[in-house]
Symmetry: C2
Subunit: 321 residues, 2 copies
Protein backbone atom coordinates (compact mmCIF):
# COMPACT_ATOMS: atom_id res chain seq x y z
CA UNK A 1 0.00 0.00 0.00
CA UNK A 2 1.23 3.50 -0.80
CA UNK A 3 1.63 5.52 2.30
CA UNK A 4 3.35 7.16 5.14
CA UNK A 5 4.40 5.75 8.42
CA UNK A 6 5.00 8.04 11.33
CA UNK A 7 5.70 7.49 14.98
CA UNK A 8 2.49 8.29 16.84
CA UNK A 9 4.08 9.48 20.05
CA UNK A 10 5.72 12.57 18.62
CA UNK A 11 4.34 16.00 19.44
CA UNK A 12 5.79 19.20 18.09
CA UNK A 13 5.76 22.50 19.92
CA UNK A 14 7.88 24.79 17.80
CA UNK A 15 9.47 28.09 18.69
CA UNK A 16 6.75 30.81 18.72
CA UNK A 17 4.13 28.25 19.76
CA UNK A 18 3.44 27.20 23.34
CA UNK A 19 2.04 30.55 24.49
CA UNK A 20 0.95 29.92 28.11
CA UNK A 21 -1.43 32.89 28.37
CA UNK A 22 -5.21 32.50 28.49
CA UNK A 23 -6.21 34.91 25.71
CA UNK A 24 -9.28 35.95 27.69
CA UNK A 25 -11.82 35.67 24.91
CA UNK A 26 -14.72 36.40 27.29
CA UNK A 27 -12.99 39.12 29.31
CA UNK A 28 -11.93 41.16 26.26
CA UNK A 29 -15.56 41.73 25.32
CA UNK A 30 -15.91 44.01 28.39
CA UNK A 31 -14.40 47.48 27.75
CA UNK A 32 -14.70 48.52 31.42
CA UNK A 33 -12.83 45.40 32.54
CA UNK A 34 -10.11 46.02 29.96
CA UNK A 35 -9.71 49.64 31.03
CA UNK A 36 -9.48 48.72 34.72
CA UNK A 37 -6.92 45.99 33.96
CA UNK A 38 -4.87 48.35 31.79
CA UNK A 39 -4.49 50.74 34.76
CA UNK A 40 -4.07 48.11 37.50
CA UNK A 41 -0.67 48.27 39.23
CA UNK A 42 -0.13 44.49 39.03
CA UNK A 43 -0.76 44.32 35.25
CA UNK A 44 2.26 43.51 33.08
CA UNK A 45 3.29 45.35 29.91
CA UNK A 46 5.58 43.97 27.22
CA UNK A 47 6.89 46.97 25.27
CA UNK A 48 7.86 46.80 21.59
CA UNK A 49 9.86 49.60 20.05
CA UNK A 50 9.80 49.53 16.26
CA UNK A 51 9.02 45.83 16.62
CA UNK A 52 12.05 45.20 18.83
CA UNK A 53 11.14 43.63 22.16
CA UNK A 54 12.36 44.38 25.67
CA UNK A 55 14.54 41.55 26.99
CA UNK A 56 15.82 41.12 30.55
CA UNK A 57 19.25 39.47 30.49
CA UNK A 58 19.86 40.18 34.17
CA UNK A 59 18.83 36.75 35.51
CA UNK A 60 20.03 33.23 34.85
CA UNK A 61 19.01 33.43 31.20
CA UNK A 62 17.26 35.96 28.96
CA UNK A 63 13.57 36.52 29.70
CA UNK A 64 10.95 38.86 28.31
CA UNK A 65 11.24 42.30 29.90
CA UNK A 66 7.92 43.35 31.44
CA UNK A 67 7.07 46.89 32.55
CA UNK A 68 4.49 48.12 35.04
CA UNK A 69 1.44 50.11 33.98
CA UNK A 70 2.95 53.14 35.75
CA UNK A 71 6.13 52.86 33.61
CA UNK A 72 4.03 52.89 30.45
CA UNK A 73 1.80 55.72 31.69
CA UNK A 74 4.91 57.88 32.20
CA UNK A 75 5.86 57.47 28.51
CA UNK A 76 2.58 59.12 27.43
CA UNK A 77 2.40 57.17 24.16
CA UNK A 78 -0.72 57.72 22.06
CA UNK A 79 -1.28 54.06 21.11
CA UNK A 80 -3.74 51.82 22.99
CA UNK A 81 -2.27 48.68 24.56
CA UNK A 82 -3.03 45.26 23.10
CA UNK A 83 -4.45 42.78 25.61
CA UNK A 84 -2.48 39.54 25.32
CA UNK A 85 -4.33 37.58 27.98
CA UNK A 86 -4.11 36.38 31.56
CA UNK A 87 -1.14 34.60 33.10
CA UNK A 88 -1.38 31.64 35.49
CA UNK A 89 -1.97 34.01 38.41
CA UNK A 90 -4.81 35.80 36.60
CA UNK A 91 -2.67 38.89 36.01
CA UNK A 92 -3.54 40.79 32.82
CA UNK A 93 -0.71 41.00 30.27
CA UNK A 94 -0.54 43.66 27.58
CA UNK A 95 1.70 44.44 24.65
CA UNK A 96 2.47 48.12 24.17
CA UNK A 97 3.76 49.71 21.00
CA UNK A 98 6.16 52.47 22.10
CA UNK A 99 7.64 53.14 18.66
CA UNK A 100 6.91 56.86 18.93
CA UNK A 101 9.29 57.20 21.91
CA UNK A 102 12.64 58.49 20.62
CA UNK A 103 14.99 56.84 23.12
CA UNK A 104 13.02 54.33 25.18
CA UNK A 105 15.99 52.99 27.18
CA UNK A 106 16.69 56.50 28.37
CA UNK A 107 13.09 57.54 28.97
CA UNK A 108 12.37 54.32 30.87
CA UNK A 109 15.64 54.69 32.77
CA UNK A 110 16.26 50.99 32.17
CA UNK A 111 18.62 49.24 34.59
CA UNK A 112 21.51 47.18 33.21
CA UNK A 113 20.50 43.88 31.67
CA UNK A 114 17.32 45.30 30.12
CA UNK A 115 17.48 46.22 26.43
CA UNK A 116 15.41 46.21 23.24
CA UNK A 117 16.33 43.37 20.89
CA UNK A 118 15.32 42.26 17.40
CA UNK A 119 12.48 39.79 17.96
CA UNK A 120 13.90 36.88 15.95
CA UNK A 121 17.28 36.97 17.66
CA UNK A 122 15.58 37.34 21.02
CA UNK A 123 13.43 34.27 20.34
CA UNK A 124 16.52 32.11 19.88
CA UNK A 125 17.53 32.75 23.50
CA UNK A 126 14.19 32.99 25.30
CA UNK A 127 12.44 30.06 27.03
CA UNK A 128 10.00 28.29 24.67
CA UNK A 129 6.78 29.52 26.27
CA UNK A 130 7.99 33.13 26.15
CA UNK A 131 8.56 32.88 22.39
CA UNK A 132 4.83 32.18 22.13
CA UNK A 133 4.00 35.40 23.96
CA UNK A 134 6.52 37.26 21.81
CA UNK A 135 4.95 35.86 18.62
CA UNK A 136 1.50 37.04 19.65
CA UNK A 137 2.75 40.51 20.65
CA UNK A 138 4.98 40.98 17.58
CA UNK A 139 2.30 39.84 15.13
CA UNK A 140 -0.50 41.90 16.68
CA UNK A 141 1.45 45.13 17.03
CA UNK A 142 2.80 44.76 13.50
CA UNK A 143 -0.75 44.30 12.24
CA UNK A 144 -2.08 47.39 14.04
CA UNK A 145 0.77 49.48 12.65
CA UNK A 146 -0.18 48.56 9.08
CA UNK A 147 -3.97 48.71 9.51
CA UNK A 148 -4.70 52.20 10.75
CA UNK A 149 -7.06 52.80 7.80
CA UNK A 150 -10.17 51.01 6.54
CA UNK A 151 -9.52 48.98 3.39
CA UNK A 152 -13.21 49.35 2.42
CA UNK A 153 -13.56 53.14 2.56
CA UNK A 154 -10.20 54.68 3.54
CA UNK A 155 -11.27 56.14 6.92
CA UNK A 156 -9.15 55.88 10.07
CA UNK A 157 -10.05 52.79 12.12
CA UNK A 158 -10.26 52.34 15.89
CA UNK A 159 -8.98 49.41 17.95
CA UNK A 160 -11.57 47.34 19.82
CA UNK A 161 -11.84 44.30 22.12
CA UNK A 162 -8.31 44.75 23.42
CA UNK A 163 -6.81 44.60 19.93
CA UNK A 164 -8.49 41.69 18.13
CA UNK A 165 -10.56 43.99 15.93
CA UNK A 166 -10.26 47.41 14.27
CA UNK A 167 -13.59 49.04 13.46
CA UNK A 168 -14.35 51.76 10.94
CA UNK A 169 -16.47 54.66 12.21
CA UNK A 170 -17.09 55.64 8.58
CA UNK A 171 -18.61 52.55 6.95
CA UNK A 172 -18.95 50.27 9.98
CA UNK A 173 -16.63 47.56 8.65
CA UNK A 174 -14.79 45.38 11.17
CA UNK A 175 -11.26 44.28 10.36
CA UNK A 176 -9.58 41.36 12.06
CA UNK A 177 -5.86 40.60 12.46
CA UNK A 178 -4.66 38.57 9.54
CA UNK A 179 -2.70 35.35 9.63
CA UNK A 180 -1.31 34.14 6.32
CA UNK A 181 -1.18 30.37 5.93
CA UNK A 182 2.05 29.21 4.30
CA UNK A 183 2.76 25.70 3.04
CA UNK A 184 6.32 24.55 3.79
CA UNK A 185 7.23 21.14 2.45
CA UNK A 186 10.06 18.68 2.36
CA UNK A 187 9.68 16.75 -0.87
CA UNK A 188 11.28 13.32 -0.85
CA UNK A 189 12.41 10.96 -3.60
CA UNK A 190 13.54 7.75 -1.95
CA UNK A 191 16.75 8.43 -0.07
CA UNK A 192 17.07 12.09 -1.08
CA UNK A 193 15.13 15.25 -0.44
CA UNK A 194 14.56 18.51 -2.29
CA UNK A 195 16.22 21.58 -0.77
CA UNK A 196 16.28 25.09 -2.20
CA UNK A 197 17.69 28.56 -1.81
CA UNK A 198 15.35 31.42 -2.53
CA UNK A 199 16.92 34.56 -3.92
CA UNK A 200 17.95 36.61 -0.91
CA UNK A 201 19.76 36.13 2.38
CA UNK A 202 19.84 32.31 2.23
CA UNK A 203 22.29 32.50 -0.69
CA UNK A 204 24.79 34.67 1.16
CA UNK A 205 25.06 32.21 4.05
CA UNK A 206 24.98 29.04 1.92
CA UNK A 207 21.77 27.81 3.49
CA UNK A 208 19.31 25.44 1.83
CA UNK A 209 15.83 24.89 3.20
CA UNK A 210 12.49 23.27 2.51
CA UNK A 211 10.47 24.96 -0.25
CA UNK A 212 7.60 27.15 0.89
CA UNK A 213 4.93 29.50 -0.35
CA UNK A 214 1.71 31.26 0.61
CA UNK A 215 -1.46 29.23 0.30
CA UNK A 216 -3.65 31.01 -2.22
CA UNK A 217 -7.36 31.68 -2.16
CA UNK A 218 -9.45 28.68 -3.14
CA UNK A 219 -6.68 26.16 -2.48
CA UNK A 220 -6.22 23.34 0.04
CA UNK A 221 -2.95 22.81 1.91
CA UNK A 222 -2.15 19.81 -0.25
CA UNK A 223 -2.81 21.71 -3.47
CA UNK A 224 -0.55 24.54 -2.35
CA UNK A 225 2.26 22.06 -1.62
CA UNK A 226 1.97 20.66 -5.15
CA UNK A 227 1.61 24.02 -6.90
CA UNK A 228 4.51 25.70 -5.13
CA UNK A 229 6.84 22.76 -5.70
CA UNK A 230 5.93 22.69 -9.38
CA UNK A 231 6.37 26.46 -9.72
CA UNK A 232 9.67 26.74 -7.88
CA UNK A 233 11.35 23.48 -8.84
CA UNK A 234 9.38 21.89 -11.70
CA UNK A 235 8.84 18.77 -9.56
CA UNK A 236 5.46 17.01 -9.51
CA UNK A 237 4.29 15.89 -6.07
CA UNK A 238 1.92 13.03 -5.27
CA UNK A 239 1.07 12.15 -1.70
CA UNK A 240 1.28 14.91 0.92
CA UNK A 241 1.36 14.35 4.66
CA UNK A 242 0.89 17.05 7.32
CA UNK A 243 3.60 17.08 9.99
CA UNK A 244 3.17 20.08 12.31
CA UNK A 245 2.58 23.82 12.29
CA UNK A 246 4.40 26.90 13.57
CA UNK A 247 3.31 30.51 14.01
CA UNK A 248 5.89 32.76 12.35
CA UNK A 249 5.42 36.39 13.35
CA UNK A 250 7.44 38.09 10.57
CA UNK A 251 4.93 39.58 10.03
CA UNK A 252 2.18 37.06 10.71
CA UNK A 253 2.28 33.66 9.05
CA UNK A 254 1.13 30.21 10.01
CA UNK A 255 3.73 27.78 8.66
CA UNK A 256 2.01 24.49 7.81
CA UNK A 257 4.71 21.83 7.57
CA UNK A 258 4.27 18.82 5.28
CA UNK A 259 6.20 16.00 3.71
CA UNK A 260 5.48 15.06 0.11
CA UNK A 261 6.45 12.32 -2.31
CA UNK A 262 8.03 13.34 -5.62
CA UNK A 263 6.47 11.97 -8.78
CA UNK A 264 9.13 13.41 -11.08
CA UNK A 265 12.81 14.14 -10.54
CA UNK A 266 14.10 16.61 -13.17
CA UNK A 267 14.46 20.04 -11.57
CA UNK A 268 13.46 23.20 -13.43
CA UNK A 269 14.10 26.27 -11.34
CA UNK A 270 11.96 29.41 -11.32
CA UNK A 271 14.94 31.77 -11.44
CA UNK A 272 12.85 34.78 -10.45
CA UNK A 273 12.19 33.27 -7.03
CA UNK A 274 14.88 30.63 -6.54
CA UNK A 275 18.66 30.81 -6.70
CA UNK A 276 19.20 27.06 -6.51
CA UNK A 277 17.21 23.87 -5.93
CA UNK A 278 18.79 20.45 -5.64
CA UNK A 279 18.32 16.88 -4.49
CA UNK A 280 20.38 16.18 -1.38
CA UNK A 281 21.00 12.66 -0.12
CA UNK A 282 20.20 11.61 3.42
CA UNK A 283 23.82 11.22 4.58
CA UNK A 284 24.65 14.77 3.47
CA UNK A 285 21.54 16.09 5.21
CA UNK A 286 22.46 14.27 8.42
CA UNK A 287 25.97 15.70 8.29
CA UNK A 288 24.61 19.20 7.70
CA UNK A 289 22.23 18.78 10.67
CA UNK A 290 25.24 17.78 12.76
CA UNK A 291 26.96 21.01 11.75
CA UNK A 292 29.59 19.38 9.54
CA UNK A 293 30.97 21.28 6.56
CA UNK A 294 29.35 19.55 3.59
CA UNK A 295 28.95 22.56 1.30
CA UNK A 296 25.50 23.48 2.48
CA UNK A 297 23.84 24.56 5.72
CA UNK A 298 20.33 23.74 6.89
CA UNK A 299 18.10 25.93 9.09
CA UNK A 300 18.44 25.87 12.85
CA UNK A 301 15.95 24.66 15.42
CA UNK A 302 14.02 27.93 15.50
CA UNK A 303 12.51 27.07 12.09
CA UNK A 304 9.96 24.36 11.32
CA UNK A 305 12.06 23.55 8.22
CA UNK A 306 14.75 22.14 10.53
CA UNK A 307 12.24 19.76 12.09
CA UNK A 308 10.75 18.66 8.76
CA UNK A 309 14.26 17.88 7.53
CA UNK A 310 15.33 16.15 10.75
CA UNK A 311 12.13 14.07 10.96
CA UNK A 312 12.85 12.66 7.51
CA UNK A 313 16.62 12.36 7.89
CA UNK A 314 16.29 10.45 11.14
CA UNK A 315 13.55 8.17 9.85
CA UNK A 316 10.78 9.49 12.08
CA UNK A 317 8.77 9.96 8.89
CA UNK A 318 9.08 7.36 6.18
CA UNK A 319 7.52 7.96 2.80
CA UNK A 320 6.96 5.73 -0.15
CA UNK A 321 5.64 6.91 -3.47
CA UNK B 1 0.89 4.00 23.48
CA UNK B 2 -1.34 7.02 23.06
CA UNK B 3 -2.18 7.63 19.49
CA UNK B 4 -4.18 7.67 16.35
CA UNK B 5 -4.51 5.10 13.68
CA UNK B 6 -5.69 6.10 10.25
CA UNK B 7 -6.02 4.36 6.95
CA UNK B 8 -3.10 5.54 4.84
CA UNK B 9 -4.79 5.22 1.48
CA UNK B 10 -7.38 7.92 1.99
CA UNK B 11 -7.08 11.19 0.12
CA UNK B 12 -9.56 14.03 0.50
CA UNK B 13 -10.47 16.51 -2.20
CA UNK B 14 -13.29 18.54 -0.76
CA UNK B 15 -15.77 20.79 -2.50
CA UNK B 16 -14.03 24.08 -3.43
CA UNK B 17 -10.70 22.26 -3.82
CA UNK B 18 -9.54 20.49 -6.97
CA UNK B 19 -9.17 23.62 -9.11
CA UNK B 20 -7.76 22.34 -12.44
CA UNK B 21 -6.41 25.69 -13.65
CA UNK B 22 -2.70 26.46 -13.82
CA UNK B 23 -2.62 29.76 -11.91
CA UNK B 24 0.08 31.06 -14.24
CA UNK B 25 2.46 32.39 -11.62
CA UNK B 26 5.10 33.24 -14.23
CA UNK B 27 2.71 34.62 -16.86
CA UNK B 28 0.96 37.00 -14.50
CA UNK B 29 4.18 38.91 -13.92
CA UNK B 30 3.96 40.20 -17.54
CA UNK B 31 1.43 43.07 -17.86
CA UNK B 32 1.55 43.05 -21.69
CA UNK B 33 0.81 39.31 -21.79
CA UNK B 34 -2.09 39.79 -19.37
CA UNK B 35 -3.52 42.65 -21.42
CA UNK B 36 -3.31 40.67 -24.66
CA UNK B 37 -4.93 37.63 -23.04
CA UNK B 38 -7.70 39.79 -21.56
CA UNK B 39 -8.65 40.97 -25.07
CA UNK B 40 -8.13 37.64 -26.89
CA UNK B 41 -11.34 36.27 -28.43
CA UNK B 42 -10.69 32.74 -27.14
CA UNK B 43 -10.23 33.85 -23.51
CA UNK B 44 -12.96 32.85 -21.04
CA UNK B 45 -14.65 35.10 -18.52
CA UNK B 46 -16.51 33.91 -15.43
CA UNK B 47 -18.77 36.80 -14.37
CA UNK B 48 -19.81 37.41 -10.77
CA UNK B 49 -22.64 39.81 -10.02
CA UNK B 50 -22.74 40.86 -6.37
CA UNK B 51 -20.85 37.62 -5.67
CA UNK B 52 -23.43 35.48 -7.48
CA UNK B 53 -21.93 33.37 -10.23
CA UNK B 54 -23.16 32.66 -13.75
CA UNK B 55 -24.31 29.05 -14.09
CA UNK B 56 -25.22 27.23 -17.29
CA UNK B 57 -27.96 24.72 -16.60
CA UNK B 58 -28.60 24.09 -20.28
CA UNK B 59 -26.50 20.93 -20.63
CA UNK B 60 -26.61 17.55 -18.91
CA UNK B 61 -25.90 19.11 -15.55
CA UNK B 62 -25.09 22.58 -14.23
CA UNK B 63 -21.71 24.00 -15.26
CA UNK B 64 -20.00 27.33 -14.74
CA UNK B 65 -21.26 29.89 -17.25
CA UNK B 66 -18.36 31.42 -19.18
CA UNK B 67 -18.58 34.58 -21.30
CA UNK B 68 -16.40 35.77 -24.17
CA UNK B 69 -14.15 38.80 -23.87
CA UNK B 70 -16.42 40.58 -26.36
CA UNK B 71 -19.45 40.00 -24.09
CA UNK B 72 -17.63 41.57 -21.15
CA UNK B 73 -16.30 44.45 -23.28
CA UNK B 74 -19.89 45.31 -24.23
CA UNK B 75 -20.84 45.71 -20.56
CA UNK B 76 -18.27 48.52 -20.15
CA UNK B 77 -17.66 47.76 -16.47
CA UNK B 78 -14.97 49.81 -14.78
CA UNK B 79 -13.35 46.94 -12.83
CA UNK B 80 -10.24 45.13 -14.10
CA UNK B 81 -10.60 41.37 -14.62
CA UNK B 82 -8.91 38.93 -12.26
CA UNK B 83 -6.69 36.37 -14.01
CA UNK B 84 -7.59 32.93 -12.70
CA UNK B 85 -5.10 30.93 -14.76
CA UNK B 86 -4.79 28.75 -17.83
CA UNK B 87 -7.00 25.79 -18.63
CA UNK B 88 -5.77 22.47 -20.07
CA UNK B 89 -5.78 23.97 -23.58
CA UNK B 90 -3.71 26.97 -22.51
CA UNK B 91 -6.72 29.30 -22.73
CA UNK B 92 -6.62 32.21 -20.29
CA UNK B 93 -9.48 32.27 -17.78
CA UNK B 94 -10.59 35.42 -15.96
CA UNK B 95 -13.09 36.27 -13.28
CA UNK B 96 -14.97 39.52 -13.86
CA UNK B 97 -16.82 41.49 -11.22
CA UNK B 98 -19.90 42.96 -12.96
CA UNK B 99 -21.67 44.09 -9.80
CA UNK B 100 -22.10 47.60 -11.17
CA UNK B 101 -24.34 46.33 -14.00
CA UNK B 102 -27.97 46.84 -12.97
CA UNK B 103 -29.58 43.90 -14.79
CA UNK B 104 -26.84 41.65 -16.13
CA UNK B 105 -29.16 38.95 -17.50
CA UNK B 106 -30.87 41.58 -19.63
CA UNK B 107 -27.73 43.44 -20.69
CA UNK B 108 -25.95 40.20 -21.58
CA UNK B 109 -29.08 38.98 -23.35
CA UNK B 110 -28.57 35.61 -21.68
CA UNK B 111 -30.15 32.61 -23.37
CA UNK B 112 -32.35 30.25 -21.33
CA UNK B 113 -30.45 28.00 -18.94
CA UNK B 114 -27.93 30.71 -18.02
CA UNK B 115 -28.56 32.57 -14.78
CA UNK B 116 -26.74 34.10 -11.82
CA UNK B 117 -26.85 31.93 -8.71
CA UNK B 118 -25.73 32.24 -5.11
CA UNK B 119 -22.24 30.69 -5.03
CA UNK B 120 -22.79 28.22 -2.23
CA UNK B 121 -25.94 26.76 -3.73
CA UNK B 122 -24.27 26.65 -7.12
CA UNK B 123 -21.34 24.70 -5.69
CA UNK B 124 -23.64 21.92 -4.49
CA UNK B 125 -24.63 21.17 -8.08
CA UNK B 126 -21.42 21.89 -10.02
CA UNK B 127 -18.78 19.27 -10.90
CA UNK B 128 -16.04 19.09 -8.25
CA UNK B 129 -13.28 20.71 -10.28
CA UNK B 130 -15.54 23.66 -11.15
CA UNK B 131 -16.18 24.33 -7.47
CA UNK B 132 -12.42 24.93 -7.18
CA UNK B 133 -12.55 27.56 -9.90
CA UNK B 134 -15.62 29.11 -8.27
CA UNK B 135 -13.84 29.25 -4.90
CA UNK B 136 -10.87 31.07 -6.39
CA UNK B 137 -13.08 33.54 -8.28
CA UNK B 138 -15.48 34.19 -5.40
CA UNK B 139 -12.70 34.68 -2.84
CA UNK B 140 -10.58 36.95 -5.05
CA UNK B 141 -13.40 39.20 -6.23
CA UNK B 142 -14.73 39.46 -2.68
CA UNK B 143 -11.28 40.51 -1.51
CA UNK B 144 -10.89 43.19 -4.18
CA UNK B 145 -14.31 44.61 -3.32
CA UNK B 146 -13.29 45.12 0.31
CA UNK B 147 -9.71 46.27 -0.32
CA UNK B 148 -10.01 49.30 -2.56
CA UNK B 149 -8.09 51.42 -0.03
CA UNK B 150 -4.64 51.13 1.54
CA UNK B 151 -4.77 50.01 5.18
CA UNK B 152 -1.43 51.75 5.82
CA UNK B 153 -2.25 55.26 4.57
CA UNK B 154 -5.87 55.33 3.34
CA UNK B 155 -5.14 56.01 -0.37
CA UNK B 156 -6.93 54.21 -3.20
CA UNK B 157 -5.03 51.08 -4.29
CA UNK B 158 -4.53 49.64 -7.77
CA UNK B 159 -4.76 45.99 -8.82
CA UNK B 160 -1.57 44.36 -10.10
CA UNK B 161 -0.29 41.02 -11.44
CA UNK B 162 -3.71 39.96 -12.65
CA UNK B 163 -5.25 40.40 -9.23
CA UNK B 164 -2.85 38.80 -6.72
CA UNK B 165 -1.71 42.15 -5.40
CA UNK B 166 -3.09 45.63 -4.78
CA UNK B 167 -0.47 48.37 -4.65
CA UNK B 168 -0.68 51.81 -3.07
CA UNK B 169 0.52 54.71 -5.23
CA UNK B 170 0.64 56.85 -2.08
CA UNK B 171 2.94 54.98 0.32
CA UNK B 172 4.10 52.13 -1.93
CA UNK B 173 2.67 49.35 0.23
CA UNK B 174 1.69 46.10 -1.46
CA UNK B 175 -1.37 44.25 -0.19
CA UNK B 176 -2.01 40.59 -0.88
CA UNK B 177 -5.29 38.66 -0.87
CA UNK B 178 -5.97 37.30 2.56
CA UNK B 179 -6.84 33.75 3.48
CA UNK B 180 -7.94 33.19 7.06
CA UNK B 181 -6.94 29.83 8.53
CA UNK B 182 -9.74 28.28 10.59
CA UNK B 183 -9.41 25.24 12.84
CA UNK B 184 -12.39 22.90 12.62
CA UNK B 185 -12.29 19.92 14.93
CA UNK B 186 -14.22 16.86 15.87
CA UNK B 187 -13.41 16.14 19.50
CA UNK B 188 -13.89 12.55 20.57
CA UNK B 189 -14.37 10.87 23.92
CA UNK B 190 -14.38 7.13 23.34
CA UNK B 191 -17.56 6.23 21.50
CA UNK B 192 -19.05 9.74 21.42
CA UNK B 193 -18.12 13.01 19.77
CA UNK B 194 -18.67 16.68 20.58
CA UNK B 195 -21.12 18.50 18.31
CA UNK B 196 -22.29 22.07 18.63
CA UNK B 197 -24.68 24.68 17.31
CA UNK B 198 -23.37 28.19 17.07
CA UNK B 199 -25.90 30.97 17.54
CA UNK B 200 -27.35 31.63 14.12
CA UNK B 201 -28.76 29.68 11.19
CA UNK B 202 -27.68 26.23 12.47
CA UNK B 203 -30.20 26.53 15.31
CA UNK B 204 -33.16 27.17 13.02
CA UNK B 205 -32.52 24.02 10.99
CA UNK B 206 -31.59 21.80 13.96
CA UNK B 207 -28.09 21.19 12.66
CA UNK B 208 -25.11 20.27 14.84
CA UNK B 209 -21.55 20.44 13.51
CA UNK B 210 -17.93 20.20 14.49
CA UNK B 211 -16.66 23.15 16.55
CA UNK B 212 -14.54 25.69 14.68
CA UNK B 213 -12.78 29.00 15.07
CA UNK B 214 -10.23 31.30 13.50
CA UNK B 215 -6.59 30.54 14.24
CA UNK B 216 -5.15 33.56 16.03
CA UNK B 217 -1.83 35.28 15.59
CA UNK B 218 1.04 33.48 17.31
CA UNK B 219 -0.82 30.17 17.53
CA UNK B 220 -0.26 26.73 15.98
CA UNK B 221 -3.13 24.70 14.51
CA UNK B 222 -3.07 22.36 17.47
CA UNK B 223 -3.17 25.23 19.97
CA UNK B 224 -6.14 26.78 18.18
CA UNK B 225 -8.02 23.46 18.33
CA UNK B 226 -7.48 23.30 22.09
CA UNK B 227 -8.25 26.98 22.77
CA UNK B 228 -11.44 27.09 20.72
CA UNK B 229 -12.79 23.87 22.24
CA UNK B 230 -12.07 25.16 25.73
CA UNK B 231 -13.65 28.55 24.96
CA UNK B 232 -16.79 27.25 23.26
CA UNK B 233 -17.44 24.06 25.22
CA UNK B 234 -15.23 24.06 28.32
CA UNK B 235 -13.66 20.78 27.18
CA UNK B 236 -9.90 20.20 27.49
CA UNK B 237 -8.29 18.53 24.47
CA UNK B 238 -5.12 16.45 24.45
CA UNK B 239 -3.84 14.89 21.24
CA UNK B 240 -4.78 16.54 17.95
CA UNK B 241 -4.47 14.91 14.55
CA UNK B 242 -4.75 16.72 11.19
CA UNK B 243 -7.21 15.15 8.76
CA UNK B 244 -7.62 17.32 5.64
CA UNK B 245 -8.22 20.90 4.54
CA UNK B 246 -10.82 22.77 2.52
CA UNK B 247 -10.87 26.24 0.99
CA UNK B 248 -14.09 27.96 2.03
CA UNK B 249 -14.72 31.11 0.00
CA UNK B 250 -17.27 32.85 2.26
CA UNK B 251 -15.37 35.12 2.22
CA UNK B 252 -11.95 33.47 2.17
CA UNK B 253 -11.08 30.85 4.75
CA UNK B 254 -8.89 27.80 4.80
CA UNK B 255 -10.68 25.19 6.91
CA UNK B 256 -8.08 22.98 8.60
CA UNK B 257 -9.84 19.83 9.74
CA UNK B 258 -8.62 17.89 12.76
CA UNK B 259 -9.66 15.20 15.19
CA UNK B 260 -8.85 15.63 18.86
CA UNK B 261 -9.06 13.55 22.01
CA UNK B 262 -11.03 14.96 24.96
CA UNK B 263 -9.28 15.10 28.31
CA UNK B 264 -12.36 16.27 30.19
CA UNK B 265 -16.07 15.63 29.65
CA UNK B 266 -18.16 18.25 31.51
CA UNK B 267 -19.49 20.77 28.99
CA UNK B 268 -19.58 24.50 29.80
CA UNK B 269 -21.03 26.48 26.93
CA UNK B 270 -19.94 29.97 25.88
CA UNK B 271 -23.49 31.23 25.46
CA UNK B 272 -22.38 34.31 23.54
CA UNK B 273 -21.13 32.13 20.67
CA UNK B 274 -22.87 28.78 21.10
CA UNK B 275 -26.53 27.84 21.37
CA UNK B 276 -25.89 24.21 22.32
CA UNK B 277 -22.99 21.77 22.60
CA UNK B 278 -23.45 18.11 23.41
CA UNK B 279 -21.84 14.69 23.33
CA UNK B 280 -23.45 12.50 20.65
CA UNK B 281 -22.90 8.75 20.51
CA UNK B 282 -21.65 7.02 17.40
CA UNK B 283 -24.92 5.23 16.56
CA UNK B 284 -26.84 8.50 16.63
CA UNK B 285 -24.22 10.15 14.44
CA UNK B 286 -24.37 7.29 11.94
CA UNK B 287 -28.16 7.53 11.79
CA UNK B 288 -27.95 11.30 11.28
CA UNK B 289 -25.42 10.79 8.46
CA UNK B 290 -27.89 8.34 6.89
CA UNK B 291 -30.55 11.05 6.99
CA UNK B 292 -32.66 9.42 9.70
CA UNK B 293 -34.69 11.58 12.07
CA UNK B 294 -32.77 11.37 15.34
CA UNK B 295 -33.44 14.88 16.63
CA UNK B 296 -30.36 16.43 15.06
CA UNK B 297 -28.97 16.98 11.59
CA UNK B 298 -25.32 16.96 10.54
CA UNK B 299 -23.75 18.98 7.69
CA UNK B 300 -23.89 17.73 4.14
CA UNK B 301 -21.02 16.64 1.91
CA UNK B 302 -20.20 20.18 0.80
CA UNK B 303 -18.65 20.86 4.23
CA UNK B 304 -15.44 19.40 5.65
CA UNK B 305 -17.33 18.93 8.93
CA UNK B 306 -19.33 16.15 7.27
CA UNK B 307 -16.14 14.31 6.35
CA UNK B 308 -14.56 14.74 9.79
CA UNK B 309 -17.72 13.33 11.35
CA UNK B 310 -18.04 10.49 8.84
CA UNK B 311 -14.35 9.52 9.10
CA UNK B 312 -14.78 9.04 12.83
CA UNK B 313 -18.26 7.49 12.73
CA UNK B 314 -17.19 4.91 10.19
CA UNK B 315 -13.95 4.06 11.95
CA UNK B 316 -11.59 5.46 9.32
CA UNK B 317 -10.00 7.44 12.14
CA UNK B 318 -9.64 5.79 15.50
CA UNK B 319 -8.51 7.80 18.48
CA UNK B 320 -7.48 6.81 21.94
CA UNK B 321 -6.79 9.24 24.75
Amino acid sequence: MNGFCRSLAVSHVHTFAGNPLDRGDAERRDPAWLEARARAPESRYLPLHQLNVLVDAGGEGPRLGWLKSSDVARLEVDVPPVFLGLDDDGVACFAQDISEVHDPSHELNLPGGLSFQESRSAAMALPGAETGILAQARAQIGWHQRHQFCSVCGERTVQGKGGVVRSCPGCGADHFPRTDPVAIMLIVDGDRCLLGQSNGPLVRIGMFSALAGFIEQGESIEEAVRRETLEEAGIRVGRVRYHSSQPWPFPSSLMIGCHGVAESTDITIDTEEMHDVRWVDRDTVRAALAGEDVGLKVPGEIAIAHHLIRAWAEGEVSLTA
